[in-house]
């Protein structure tokens, strides 16, 4: 029973880690692209 609980807890933590890693990677890519776009627009606007 405690092995099952332990496996359950590891599963929960692992799935949380997988989801979090995905979010953080995608968010990093999204915001880098956004900031890059803003920099290009500012270059075009102000030279």
């Amino acid at each position: 029973m405690s092995d099952n609980n332990k496996a359950g807890m590891d599963d929960l933590q692992m799935s949380a880690l997988a989801a979090s890693a995905t979010i953080l990677v995608f968010a990093a890519i999204y915001w880098v692209v956004q900031i890059q776009g803003v920099r290009e627009m500012l270059d075009m606007a102000y030279g």
Binding site: D10, D11, L12, A18, S20, I23, A27
Partner: protein, 194 residues
């Protein structure tokens, strides 16, 4: 003895499967096809009672938007407190279980109002947002945020907090903050677009 046919890591497998399915959807023509298929729905949204009121009376739209911001403030407060507690930044002398459980309740109420007011506002500017790329990013982030809050963070935090590894706590708290900041930021940018 395993309680699931997928073994003891069924939740992890489901999470990975959902992520892979989402990526397959986002990086294929399915995304565009879905967007095209949604156009009649957005056209209909503009003709609803919400849509007519939103387009006819700017004051009504503005007041509803104000409540959208107030509910967002409440949600944001709940997220800052709970994720701050998980990260160990501040709120340390407040009982952790109490903070996390009650914050989630407040977050849920705030989210309910945000969604209700958001639907009203979307109806008022349906065709404008349909063609706005940043709106779809916001909806994606919102969906991810809701799924993460209710299917990842909440089940995890139901367990004994002492058994959660510090790395997982920090990763969950950080992703929660990042995803909801992205929703809020993208939402703000809608106002400057189109």
């Amino acid at each position: 003895m395993s309680t699931s046919s997928l073994g003891s890591y069924y939740r992890t497998m489901i999470t990975v499967a959902v992520v892979l399915l989402a990526m397959a959807f986002l990086f294929s023509s399915l995304r565009i096809d879905t967007w095209v298929a949604l156009k009649p729905f957005f056209e209909w949204m503009g003709t609803t009672w919400f849509g007519v009121i939103g387009t006819t009376w700017g004051a009504a739209f503005a007041v509803v938007e104000a409540f959208h911001l107030l509910a967002m403030a409440l949600m944001g407060g709940a997220i800052i407190v709970s994720d701050g507690r998980l990260l160990g930044i501040g709120f340390s002398e407040m009982d952790e279980r109490e903070v996390l459980d009650k914050s989630h309740k407040i977050f849920s109420w705030g989210l309910a109002v945000v969604l209700l007011t958001g639907v009203f506002m979307a109806c008022g500017v349906a065709m404008k947002i349909y063609y706005l790329e940043v709106y779809w990013y916001k909806m994606l982030a919102l969906l991810v945020g809701i799924l993460f809050a209710y299917f990842v963070k909440k089940p995890l935090l139901k367990k004994d907090l002492q058994d959660i590894s510090p790395l997982v706590r920090r990763a969950v708290a950080l992703s929660s903050l990042v995803v909801w900041f992205s929703v809020a930021g993208a939402g703000r940018w809608i106002g400057f677009s189109g």
